[in-house]
């Protein structure tokens, strides 16, 4: 993203009335996604991951994050998007979801943007690889659509098999 977009976004944010929220946006193939920035702990490169047996393919394994054992989920595999390669440019967003630390692999992190309520549209009934209940809305900024994801709900869902409840289920 260029600096111009950035300024535009800020003006957009300032103009808006109502509730505004900051989002971290990232790219998966041609789609742009936005997640609540308060859930993001840090962004780092992709390290050697210790594979874990008998887990879904999108759970890449666990890494050592300064002494914490953190599971890594490849959203590209989960969403069936993007180019699943691991190199020096692969980005991991470390999320802190209510004390639980989880990493997600994405194609690239693009920006931080401020969106207010009237920029966000509801999601129509569509079929996608993730349940639409985890999509809080769609935002349009400069003719570009951002898919806003409730990342906490998504990551803690049974679908992601990241929690113990998923096993029970």
């Amino acid at each position: 993203m260029s600096a111009t977009t950035d300024t535009n976004l800020e003006t957009n944010g300032a103009e808006g009335t109502g509730h505004s929220q900051e989002y971290l946006t990232f790219v998966l193939a041609d789609e742009s996604y936005g997640i609540d920035i308060l859930k993001v702990q840090e962004i780092r490169g992709y390290d050697a991951v210790t594979k874990i047996a008998n887990t879904p393919e999108f759970i890449k394994g666990v890494v050592n994050l300064r002494g914490l054992i953190v599971p890594i989920v490849d959203l590209r595999i989960k969403f069936g998007l993007g180019n699943v390669v691991y190199d020096d440019f692969t980005v991991v967003i470390i999320l802190n979801l209510n004390g639980r630390v989880v990493g997600i692999v994405v194609d690239g992190v693009s920006d931080v943007m401020n969106l207010n309520g009237n920029q966000v549209r509801t999601v129509p009934d569509i079929v996608s690889s993730i349940d639409t209940k985890y999509i809080t809305g769609l935002a349009t900024v400069e003719d570009k659509m951002f898919i806003l994801v409730d990342i906490e709900q998504l990551m803690t869902s049974d679908e992601m098999a990241l929690m113990d409840s998923a096993v029970v289920h």
């Binding site: 874990i52 047996a53 666990v62 914490l68 054992i69 599971p71 990241l162 113990d164």
Partner: protein, 772 residues
């Protein structure tokens, strides 16, 4: 500077619990015919300290029990009454009630009031049954109460019942406060409100005076006030309508002495308190009583260390004070106080010599010893929250990992050019190890912590079941991680109960089989390699193999005559399995043993049963020393590393082709020393890619858990090392076959195998034919 009383509750609860446990230990060990006076004193002190604490915090129910308990104990330790088994039982019952009340306050659990009343009655009747109740000598029998001080009970013979402090009666105190902030004032009023009705009024000089209507004693008021302000700045006067005549006057003085808490006296400054006398005058007209109180406190208000060293020397000048009081009665208030002050000063200067003073001195001396255990315990140990220790352990764990990383990186450097660095790093390694060991030892607690609760339980159980059991503990000083100590209590309780109930036979039965009537139950703990082994041994009937097998087949379990003894004995761990013919409230319901097994397994431990019919049973629990660190063998599989707990590894080997056997060309087995063990290929189990596909190319690790052995097939052994266990569940979830993870020297994550589950998974896998 308000201090919330509740923040001290925990300390009181902890301390009381320790004291109760100590008292129980002493009671159980006491020789009834010839009790050791030291023990009696120690029990008395425990009861006394609890009473003091309970009164301070306003737990009156506990105070009441400890009070009667104390009275009885006092008689016994003074040889006014002989100790009987009945007494010991009553004391133990009292201890239980106190514990119940303590839990009631602490955990808000239910308190059986009937039981409380029963125990109180028993203690009281025992106390009265004591025959000759010697009226103690006036001063020589000091009332031991410190805080609660229902002064009336102080047997000050010289005095008629001190009218000022009627037993249980409602009294009105006037409390003149120094200048304090509005906030403190409100807090104080609230605190005092717990004692009774409080009314506050503002004086002309801007100070406040509280009028407190309460049945609590003055020292209670002081105790409460002292949390908010300096008690010396307080002027408490009794607005007692009960004081009838000046003849009673000697009494209040006498009582005032023991009533006041020397603990507070220590902080007092006489100089301060004396000038407050005029204030009193302003605020209260009932001058006589007031002054007695004043003087009473004056006695204690000697500042400083001198007084402490002399064992509260200020008690000594009893006679001079009396004089002072007398003078005061005739004369003006102020001079009297001054005189009292002079007298105190005098005493402080010269050591007490009069016999009266000497005897009186015993009171504070004993009080001091009362406090001694707490004080000395404080100097030799500190109370630290477990979470703080855990945090420390975690940090040290991180340090160990970092240190390992540095070490690994340094090892790649040129040893000649970097000699100094390498030396420093090796020093760091040593220091880190030492640090780690020291930190781990913080969490270590002696097994005595667990063992100490069993003598009582065994005693009660044996009595209930009409059995005679001698209980022996061995290795109570063996140390174990606190986390494990707490979790081992329940399983051990089950096992000990079982041993008493099912293991040890009735005296008649024992006699018939030629055994001594008294059965022996041994609880032992010992270090064995990297684990601690706890054993419950009884010399009872032993497990009956045939009966177990019959019961098992009746319960629909798969059994056969050819099962080994170990396998048969392990049947008792099956849920709902009990061979007891009669279900008692002690045991025999068949719940329990499976829970025992589960608990111990979840701690990373193992249970083993050894038994000989007619000779007894030993249940042996092996636990890792700590939960945080594990001695492991790291093995490689493809690109990954796995850690196997060392204590579960029997041996490792590189198999020969001819030792590897198959069944229907599928189930791989290895023939080791006459045994056929299933081979579990880890790569198949964990779906890991590796180039080594045949056992002869890799390494077989014979693992054993829950009595089952298997050969785990991995690529290669990497090395033996201590690893810090990290939970996978913190951020992720439980993975089958993996008990946790650890961080290796290079920063990568290695999974720790859950050996029992791996063996089970391996069996499923083999059955399903995953490996082919």
């Amino acid at each position: 500077m308000t201090i919330d009383m509740s923040q001290f509750y925990e300390v009181f609860f902890d301390e009381s619990e320790e004291l109760l446990a100590e008292a129980e230990r002493l009671l159980l060990g006491i020789n009834i015919e010839n009790p050791d006076s030291e023990d009696l004193n120690a029990i008395f002190r425990a009861a006394h300290s609890i009473k003091g604490g309970a009164a301070t915090f306003g737990f009156m129910d506990m105070t009441e029990i400890t009070h009667v308990l104390e009275n009885l104990l006092d008689k016994i330790r003074k040889n006014e009454m002989a100790l009987t088994a009945e007494h010991v039982d009553a004391f133990l019952a009292a201890k239980d009630v106190l514990k119940m009340e303590l839990d009631g306050h602490r955990l808000a659990t239910a308190v059986d009031l009937e039981q409380v009343a029963d125990v109180k009655m028993t203690l009281k009747s025992l106390s009265e049954a004591g025959g000759v109740e010697i009226k103690p000598a006036p001063v020589a029998t000091p009332e031991p109460e410190v805080v609660v001080a229902p002064v009336v009970e102080a047997p000050v013979a010289a005095a008629p019942e001190p009218a000022a402090q009627v037993e249980g009666g409602i009294q009105i105190f006037n409390i003149a406060l120094p200048e304090i902030t509005e906030k403190d004032l409100a807090n104080l009023q609230e605190e005092l409100g717990l004692l009774g009705e409080v009314a506050s009024s503002k004086q002309e000089n801007g100070r406040y005076v509280f009028t407190l209507t309460t049945d609590s004693s003055q020292s209670d008021i002081i105790s409460i006030c002292s949390f908010i302000l300096d008690p010396n700045d307080l002027v408490i006067t009794l607005n007692a309508p009960a004081v009838t005549s000046a003849t009673a006057s000697a009494a209040p003085v006498a009582t005032a002495v023991p009533a006041a808490d020397p603990g507070y006296g220590l902080f007092s400054e006489e100089v301060k308190s004396t000038p407050t006398a005029p204030v009193v005058e302003e605020s209260n007209s009932d001058s006589k009583v007031k002054i007695h109180e004043e003087v009473g406190y004056g006695l204690f208000t000697k500042p400083g260390e001198e007084a402490v060293e002399e064992g509260y020397g200020f008690f000594a000048p009893f006679a001079p004070h009396k004089d002072a009081v007398k003078t005061e009665l005739i004369g003006d208030d102020t001079p009297v106080t001054a005189e009292a002050k002079a007298a105190t000063a005098e005493v402080a200067a010269s050591k007490p010599v009069t016999p009266a003073a000497a005897t009186e001195n015993k009171t504070p001396a004993r009080r001091e010893t009362d406090k001694a255990p707490a004080a000395s315990a404080e100097t030799s140990s500190i109370r630290v929250g477990v979470e703080k220790v855990d945090q420390l352990i975690n940090l040290v764990g991180e340090l160990v990992i970092t240190q390992a990383m540095i070490e690994q990186r340094v090892s790649k450097l040129d040893p000649i050019n970097n000699e100094n660095l390498i030396n420093s790093v090796s020093q760091l390694t040593r220091n880190t190890r030492d640090l780690q060991e020291s930190v781990m030892s913080i969490r270590m607690m002696p097994m005595d912590f667990v063992f100490s609760r069993f003598p009582r339980m065994v005693r009660d159980l044996a009595a209930k079941l009409g059995k005679k059991v001698e209980f022996v503990t061995v290795g109570a000083t063996t140390e174990l991680d606190k986390g494990l100590i707490e979790r081992i209590v329940d399983p051990l309780t089950h096992l000990v109960r079982n041993s008493v109930d099912h293991g040890v036979e009735s005296p008649e039965k024992r006699k018939a089989t030629g055994k001594p009537e008294t059965g022996k139950l041994t609880l032992s703990a010992a270090h064995k390699g990297g684990s601690i082994v706890i054993e419950v041994t009884d010399d009872g009937a032993g497990l009956n193999r045939d009966k177990l097998l019959a019961k098992a087949s009746a319960n629909g379990l798969q059994v056969s005559e050819s099962m080994s003894d170990t396998e048969v004995f392990n049947l008792i761990f099956a849920p709902g399995f009990s061979t007891a013919e009669v279900v008692t409230d002690v045991s025999g319901r068949g719940v329990g043993m499976d829970v025992v097994k589960r608990n111990i397994t979840s701690m990373g431990g193992t249970v083993e049963i050894r038994s000989a019919l007619g000779y007894g049973t030993t249940i042996s629990i092996a636990l890792p020393l700590t939960l945080a660190i594990l001695d492991g063998m790291s093995v490689s599989l493809g690109e990954s590393l796995y850690v196997i707990p060392l204590n579960l590894i029997v041996e490792t080997m590189q198999p020969k082709m001819e030792d590897i056997k198959t069944v229907t060309n599928e189930g791989l087995m290895i023939h080791v020393r006459g045994e056929y063990l299933p081979i579990i290929p880890l790569y198949a189990l964990f779906k890991q890619e590796t180039e080594i596909m045949h056992p002869t190319e890799g390494v077989l690790i014979i693992i054993e858990a829950e009595g089952k052995k298997a050969a785990l097939f991995v690529d290669a052994l990497v090395g033996q090392q201590q690893v810090v266990i990290k939970s996978l569940e913190t951020n992720f979830k439980k993975i089958q076959g993996v008990s946790g993870a650890t961080i290796m020297g290079d920063g990568s994550v290695a999974l720790i195998l859950d050996v029992p589950t791996v063996i089970k998974m391996g069996q499923c896998n083999l059955k399903e034919g995953v490996y082919s």
